[in-house]
Symmetry: C2
Subunit: 144 residues, 2 copies
């Protein structure tokens, strides 16, 4: 495999509810979206919203499951205030703040919100990981 | 929020087992990785491997949970043969093919593997979503 990711698909209970949330958070649906699936163009990666049972069916696995998914997404911000602001916006849009932003042991400032389906997004100010002009993340070689 | 993603974090039982799998799949760890967390630089996005219980703790949620996570990752390939090859490689590296690649209703060719922790990766030939030179995905405006 080349070292890359093409898409993240989030299983949702209601496409309408989920897409309303992401729209309020500032995301614009790609034109290819329809009543069955919604796509967003992110920085070189696609995000999809798809009914949870159909996502499991696509992978030919049982849709049974719950609790902690074991996967989190992160959105890095350029300063601490932006982290607080985005968490407040997520709550206003119908998400849940599961961890208010706070200083964390490794030197950043981070909180989490859950989208209406419980998918966890970390909103994170990480002074060690530069954010490029286009929003891409640069993983450094050392914590300096 | 700007329309972007910074990182995907996968909760794992064993950093050693998980990183061995991704190494065999062709991923190189970033220098900042240590015995507590492993990072990969993907196309403008970071991938992290982190112990599952610590990931839950970071989000201040219970680590309880299992079954279908409700999230899948996708790796788009440039032709059908590449999909078959990567699924075979995933199996050889200690993953599980949960769906052999096959023609799918929307016109692509797709299968799934699970990494050693059960995280689902779709390996997908999607003729409608161009792959840029740098591996980035371009979400089209229509299915044409």
């Amino acid at each position: 495999m080349e070292q890359r990711l093409s898409m993240v698909s989030l299983g949702v209970q209601s496409l309408e509810r989920a897409s309303k949330f992401y729209r309020q958070m500032g995301f614009t649906e790609a034109g290819i979206s329809d009543e069955h699936i919604i796509f967003y163009q992110l920085n070189g990666v696609a995000l999809a919203l798809y009914p949870r049972d159909k996502l499991a069916e696509d992978a030919q696995v049982s849709a049974e499951g719950g609790g902690f998914s074991g996967i989190t997404l992160a959105y890095n911000v350029r300063d601490r205030a932006e982290a607080d602001r985005i968490l407040a916006e997520a709550e206003a849009a119908g998400g849940t703040v599961v961890k208010p932003a706070q200083d964390v042991f490794w030197g950043g400032y981070s909180g989490y919100f859950a989208d209406p389906d419980g998918h966890l997004w970390e909103v994170c100010w990480n002074p060690f990981f530069p954010i490029a002009e286009d929003g891409s993340i640069i993983v450094p070689e050392s914590m300096e």
